[in-house]
Symmetry: C2
């Protein structure tokens, strides 16, 4: 990066917010997984949308490439600089507007953490429907840019379903505001809001968002349902969906539960451990009655059922699900795949995945769990070397054979770029490249992320 | 249009499906309101996505402009030819795939009518969540292209929320398929599905859709709640939203109800007629209990409440709402505005709208009703001459002053093009124009619709 560019950035933001010190830059130059890293020319910290606009204009003028970054909790290298780029740290844009109780909405700066937003909303009996483990660090802008998901998508949808309005600086160097008033119906042209959501910083830098909130549930009930096969668990899904109180459906396999039991040093509530267990969350005032109806409808026996009606009990059951990635990580470096399958292929996938991994990584430990009602499974593989891409490739290859998606929640980033054409098809990728050229004509925003290199 | 273009179209589709006969063309050349018309060079009727692709390629080769058309039930001239264009009638693409009960989804051809889709889905206990009066004629492709709304948006969202996947021929001459498998999570690049929804035929011609279905409710309860002001009705909205059974919230004013009473020749169930009445629909098994809770929460007296617990009674209450446009039409030519207001401006809008119209159209009859929980009101004005744009302009002007949207459901089409820049802002419109150029570089798809002319 040309010295003149840094000089211009300093004159726009002040010296304090253009960071060249390698020690201060360092945490911005490596991603959360440790797999992606690069040396940034600088880290800049704009304090307003107008300053972001000026940063983009400086970048356009000098041909500098920008990497937008929020909490840096992504898993696919989408916010990590390649050498020589400027990281745009958006965490100073953390302002939260007043909670609009009538509309159940709030305006949030891109840099606000999820935790700060949830505290703000819950003071009004509301919450953001998308919640995730990295909440103390993950920012709203990053969650929007990656269309984050999580455990409650079955009820509320992903971030795109929460997002009503956006303020963004496009790669064209234009500041665009779209429906920051949060109007529920606005059929006046293209859905730029939805388009920016999930674009991974490649079309624009999100500076503000208008978000839908949902009532914070007064009660949450957790329920374990044991099944003798994944097929039986999948067959139970329509009965679960029929309950209007349904808020989560998480799947765990026996081998994963046994690993977690070993890790936590406690016994699973259902014994013998079922081949496949669903952890179901119900919200609302009629949780127990609902749970009873649900157990009857699915035909699961009392011996294969456990219910927790209070917060402590529910947290205890959720520990089993949350223990999966922890227990895997305790065994060594984890290769992660995050995939969606058509419902009628979930059982086939589950049957074939262990053999598929065993073929390329003999003796590896494979655990499978995830958000079953979305068809979304997480596959964790422990054993192969850090640079061995064969295990994840084997998973994604099987997913494509079965008509699924190679990225359910995590996005493409750098990690899955070479899968995009196989996933979406040549013509769809060409359309995406045309949209990219339209909104970031000079290719200054997050190059090397999401799209394959132009051919 | 050049003879060579028509010859090529005939060789692609066969003579039978390239229609030049003025009598057969006629119904395609005027819109449902009668306000928009033009002479088409031809009407073509492709029978497959591949034939649509060939039509677009012929059009590109010869510089022919295309106007995609479904059931031709739009209200803003978005599917009406201007002179010399070729209308692409998509109603032969009416194939419906098998209903997937596990996923609660179906694949529908763009030309399938809403009625045919609903019959197909209801045979499996499911339905499309978006329903509307023009159901026998309106096509799924048109509903997607306009992001149709209706009475149940408060519960299920508009068409965009039902749309999981799409098959489309872009203006670039490429056939794109995106998530026709209906995967619930697929974070692998830009949301082309959502972008095409609401694009009014200006980016691509939709040929197939993958749609989410919802359980057909076993019971529907209708409830009238009378309020002494619009302010009080708006204040009741959070109590209504708190009921998980809520499916519709329609607002009616006293003057509109008195007009309908006169038109139907029957007395309104609530006497004296309240200043503002909400028609509320609740679904599920606990309708009556829910209605009781809701009446108590909103503090409406028994005298201002009417409940219908069976289909016939509910239909009787819905007649009052549905009678509004009918009663207006019976009085003469209706000028229609379809707008959204921020919740905290709904009452102000209601107070100021009558004066605003009286100023430009003294003595006009103005009725206001609509989907209150979405902030979406329909304003009908009877009295001014057909070509008098002042009444609707006065409505839209007030809407923009109050921070609302000039088109909630109906779209932009030709009718509201000159409002787009004021609504969305220069930079957003420039971004939309860039997207248009990216996906329809020769401007052959529905020119003159949605976007203002390039400056």
């Amino acid at each position: 990066v040309h010295d003149a560019a840094l000089r211009d950035l300093r004159s726009v933001l002040g010296d304090r917010y253009v960071i060249s010190d390698p020690d201060v830059r360092a945490p911005h130059e490596v991603d959360w997984t440790g797999r992606w890293r690069g040396v940034a020319a600088a880290v800049v910290r704009p304090g307003s949308a107008e300053e972001v606009l000026e940063v983009v204009q400086v970048a356009r003028r000098h041909g500098v490439q920008l990497v937008p970054q929020g909490g840096n909790t992504g898993l696919v290298g989408g916010a990590t600089p390649r050498d020589g780029q400027v990281v745009v740290d958006l965490r100073r844009l953390r302002e939260l507007g007043p909670v609009d109780e009538q509309a159940a909405q709030v305006t949030a700066g891109a840099g606000a953490t999820l935790t700060s937003l949830q505290a703000h909303a819950r003071a009004h009996g509301l919450e953001l429907a998308v919640d995730l483990g990295a909440r103390d660090t993950a920012t709203i802008g990053g969650m929007v840019a990656t269309n984050a998901g999580g455990t409650h998508v079955v009820r509320y949808g992903p971030m795109r379903a929460q997002l009503l309005g956006i303020e963004v600086v496009l790669g064209t160097g234009a500041l665009v505001q779209a429906n920051l008033a949060g109007l529920l119906k606005d059929n006046t042209g293209y859905d730029l809001v939805g388009l920016l959501c999930g674009s991974e910083g490649t079309l624009g830098i999100i500076t503000r968002t208008r978000l839908r909130l949902v009532p914070a549930p007064r009660t949450r009930l957790a329920l374990l349902l044991g099944f003798s096969s994944v097929t039986d668990a999948v067959a139970a899904l329509p009965h679960l969906r029929a309950r209007s109180s349904l808020a989560a459906v998480e799947m765990m396999r026996r081998d994963g539960i046994e690993l977690v039991a070993d890790h936590l040093g406690v016994a699973f509530p259902l014994q013998p451990v079922p081949v496949c267990t669903l952890l179901v969350e119900l919200i609302g005032d009629d949780g127990e009655a609902d749970a009873g109806v649900l157990v009857a409808a699915t035909g699961v026996s009392d011996a294969s059922t456990a219910v927790a009606t209070d917060e402590v009990g529910a947290a205890g059951l959720w520990r089993w699900r949350e223990g999966h990635p922890e227990a895997a990580a305790a065994r060594g470096l984890v290769h992660k795949a995050d995939v969606t399958l058509p419902f009628d292929e979930l059982s086939t996938f589950n049957t074939r995945i262990d053999d598929a991994i065993e073929r390329v990584a003999p003796g590896a430990l494979t655990i499978v769990y995830g958000h079953l009602a979305d068809g979304n499974l997480h596959v964790n593989v422990v054993g192969p070397a850090a640079d061995d891409e064969q295990p994840v490739d084997a998973v994604l290859d099987l997913v494509l054979q079965l008509g699924g998606s190679v990225s359910a929640e995590h996005g493409i980033g750098v990690a899955k770029r070479r899968w995009v054409v196989r996933q979406r098809g040549e013509t769809a990728v060409a359309a995406m490249q045309a949209v990219k050229s339209a909104l970031d004509p000079d290719g200054i925003l997050n190059p090397g992320v999401l799209l394959p290199d132009a051919r």
